[in-house]
């Protein structure tokens, strides 16, 4: 976390752009800009700024936004529920598409189902989620007025963006599920189970699927992190007031505390997800617990 904090702190100061100039506008005089810099504290030496900030972060204080003047923590917490709901819905959608289709594809290899699944995953990986988002908007909000065109606040606003996010991720997950399942099905214990006289169903869904799910869960967990990233673009398309738009405008306006706070926060979420996945893994797979 400390390394990430340091990197982001340095990177945003190395790239050109000055928040004081953004606030002052292009017609401001040199003295106005100095006054604004003094107010923001960006006129102090970089080392002083860095120490100040790290000291604050250690006490869970992410400072206040240079542009809106509100505490960064408050800004993030305001936006978090929407983006988190969106990412989770996207994950649920991708899992519900990917796992059933992946399993069927693997069990009935080279069947019509398999081809359907492969075509879906090929297309799903190829089309960008924002494009899918716009197409879904045109179809389901404009042509058939099933969903709202813009605005936020209700679950209904999140359905289309979640589908757009979910489909791209489902494509990846589907491939993985299929591969994992095929691998498990070719293992000796499956042959043994079959020779014990267990039904094909028992073998496929009780024994093989359980083992095949392990790598899938790992990836699904990581996917959740990507969903949060994908949300940045999707929120823009669907006019949703989420974390993505907050951070995007933070970068546009060189709102240093907001960008720094945002990156540290996202890094934290990523580590938290990885940690949870590790725990989940050992619950599902006793072999890991033993070793």
């Amino acid at each position: 976390m400390l390394i990430i904090s340091t990197i982001v702190f340095l990177v945003i100061r190395v790239i050109p752009g000055d928040p004081a100039l953004v606030i002052a506008g292009i017609d401001a005089s040199e003295s106005d800009i100095k006054a604004i810099r003094a107010k923001l504290g960006t006129d102090k030496p970089i080392l002083t700024q860095y120490v100040d900030w790290i000291w604050k972060v250690m006490r869970f204080d992410f400072d206040t936004s240079m542009i809106s003047g509100q505490p960064v923590t408050q800004l993030i917490l305001e936006r978090l529920p929407l983006t988190l709901t969106l990412a989770l819905m996207g994950l649920v959608i991708s899992i519900f598409i990917a796992i059933p289709l992946g399993v069927v594809s693997a069990v009935k290899r080279w069947s019509a189902w398999d081809y359907l699944g492969m075509i879906f995953s090929q297309i799903g990986m190829a089309i960008p989620s924002f494009w899918l988002g716009i197409i879904l908007l045109l179809l389901l909000s404009v042509k058939i007025k099933l969903f709202p065109l813009f605005g936020g606040g209700t679950l209904k606003h999140l359905v289309l963006p979640a589908i757009s996010l979910g489909i791209a991720r489902a494509a990846v997950l589907l491939r993985l599920t299929r591969a994992a399942m095929i691998e498990e099905l070719s293992k000796e214990y499956v042959v043994a189970a079959r020779s014990k006289g267990l039904t094909e169903r028992m073998v496929n869904y009780k024994h093989a699927l359980k083992n095949a799910l392990l790598p899938v869960i790992t990836i699904a967990g990581i996917q959740l992190g990507y969903m949060l990233g994908g949300a940045i673009i999707i929120e823009q398309v669907f006019s949703l007031p989420g974390l993505g738009r907050l951070f995007l405008f933070g970068v546009y306006q060189r709102d240093f505390p907001l960008i720094q706070g945002g990156v540290v926060f996202v890094a934290f979420i990523f580590s938290f997800i990885n940690f949870t996945v590790d725990i989940l893994y050992s619950v599902l797979n006793p072999r890991i617990r033993i070793s």
Binding site: P16, G151, Y205
Partner: protein
């Protein structure tokens, strides 16, 4: 088993969709106008930003002492009238009686004094403070009279007072350290009901507004929709009643709709390709003139921008101070080649053209310029930069050869021309005569007197060409057919919903 899987998947979708349908959003109140805003304002404190979105929103919440009318002339608003002394050092404003703030406070001269003091206070660090720096004392002889004492004559002050940052705030709240950034309180036609960041701003009618019978709408909802395609679909579907402007590419779609009409008006933009006159090649006036001859201006206006009028100097076409110099630079590639040959510029020079990538239209124009300049034998390399980089490196640092931008016209010509002719402006065009005239015009009052001085400045700028002057573009404002009298304040480009009605 396969069926079970399919059924589960289907069920999950159903739950998601039905869950969404149940949470159906409420229907908006009667006489509410839905407006598409393309971004979230940084703050709603008129003294702490220079952001256009902020002032576009605040026009409905705050009033100023004076304001521009639809022709761009400055007319009385909170001040009924004003007088300027003969030496132009004492300005007296007489306030309108019976004006009330949204919190119930009566408007008095004390509020004006407190506002101007807040604006110029170092602690506020207002980006516009310098426009008011000439004020040395503010006197309030009675409740409705404000006297401003200036240290030097300053004609542009009236325009500053009439701009969004001249908004008058209530003294009681200023003294109490009120959070104006989130809860603006003014005397304007609407009050802020709520603001959900990046989602919507709801404005509610101010029943006690000082203009009798106005505003006509009960509510204005500003929906923050960054994606233009969504704005257009909203207009077509009727979820949006009006938007700020429509891109050229979307025009046919809206024109075909029986429900939408397009209002066409001139913007206040001065569209240019700026040239760095300190560059060894661009230093030569012949090269700059050649560039002015090499561009087919009407074509660029029609293709890259949404059509417009060609200009020949550094002033927007619709401005009262505009003077026509377009005859100086007809489109003439042969003449351009000749001028370049005289200046000894050949294939071995390459100029870097910096384009602000967030402005799609400028990028498109820049690509056309590149092609047209290569026709006359100038090599141009395009560099795309983001907006913050453009401001700090190009505009502040003058680290560029050529760049494409639109300067917004100002209420006062000094806002447009101030600083040119000196080292201070990014084109690095040094002309002591122009600088002297610009300084002098600042202290002279009366339109005719000032125009004489500015005419000469504009002529110098036209002849020496620190810019390639393109033109002033049109703005296409889309509104639904049932909306009438949605106005945009000229030059300031703020939204004026006071007269707007919905059928």
């Amino acid at each position: 088993m396969n069926n079970l899987i399919i059924r589960t998947t289907g069920l999950a979708f159903m739950v998601l969709i039905i869950g969404g349908l149940i949470a159906f959003p409420g229907v908006a109140a009667a006489k509410a106008l839905n407006f598409a805003l393309s971004g979230n304002p940084d703050t709603l404190d008129p003294h702490k930003t220079s952001g256009t979105l902020t002032f576009q929103t605040l026009k409905s919440i705050y009033d100023t002492l004076a304001e521009p009318d639809m022709s761009g002339r400055i007319v009385p608003a909170l001040a009924e009238r004003w007088e300027v002394s003969d030496d132009a050092l004492t300005w007296t404003f007489y306030l309108r009686k019976g004006v009330v703030f949204h919190n119930g406070d009566k408007l008095t001269s004390k509020d004006v004094k407190a506002t101007l003091e807040r604006l110029t206070d170092k602690a506020t660090a207002s980006p516009k403070a310098k426009e008011f720096a000439a004020i040395t004392a503010i006197e309030t002889p009675d409740d409705t009279t404000v006297v401003l004492k200036l240290k030097e004559p300053l004609s542009p002050l009236l325009a500053s007072l009439a701009s969004g940052w001249g908004a008058i705030l209530p003294k009681r709240l200023i003294d109490g350290g009120h959070d104006f950034a989130n809860q603006p309180v003014g005397t304007g036609p609407f009050r802020l009901k709520n603001w959900v960041r990046d989602s919507q701003i709801v404005l509610e009618k101010n029943k006690n507004y000082w203009m009798k019978g106005l505003p006509k709408l009960d509510q204005v909802i500003l929906h923050i929709i960054p994606e233009r395609a969504v704005q257009v679909q909203g207009l077509l579907a009727g979820q949006i009643d009006a938007a700020e402007f429509v891109d050229k590419d979307d025009l046919p779609l809206l024109q075909d709709s029986p429900d939408v009409k397009i209002n066409k008006s001139l913007t206040s933009l001065i569209l240019v390709m700026s040239m760095n006159c300190s560059h060894p090649v661009l230093k030569d006036v012949r090269v700059r003139q050649a560039i002015n001859h090499a561009i087919d201006k009407q074509q660029v206006l029609d293709v890259a921008y949404s059509e417009g009028r060609i200009i020949g100097t550094f002033m927007d076409y619709g401005n009262a101070y505009y003077k026509d110099f377009t005859h100086l630079y007809p489109f003439d590639p042969e003449k351009a080649k000749k001028l370049l040959a005289e200046a000894g510029v050949g294939k071995d020079t390459t100029l870097e053209l910096f384009l602000p990538q967030n402005y799609e239209l400028h990028v498109k124009a820049g690509e056309m310029y590149q092609a047209m300049l290569s026709q006359v034998g100038l090599n141009v390399k395009i560099k795309l930069v983001d907006w913050s980089t453009w401001i700090s490196d190009v505009y502040r640092g003058a680290k560029y050869d050529l760049t494409v931008i639109g300067h917004t016209g100002k209420l006062d010509p000094d806002g447009t021309l101030g600083g040119y002719g000196t080292e201070g402006r990014y084109v690095k065009w040094i002309n002591p005569r122009a600088a002297e005239l610009i300084d002098k015009a600042k202290t002279v009052s009366g339109f005719e007197n000032r125009k004489m001085l500015y005419d000469e400045v504009l002529e110098l700028m036209a002849k020496e060409g620190p810019f390639m002057y393109l033109g002033t573009s049109f703005r296409h404002v889309p509104v639904r057919k049932n909306v009438s009298d949605f106005r945009m304040t000229p030059i300031l480009d703020t939204f004026d919903f006071r007269w707007t009605t919905l059928k």
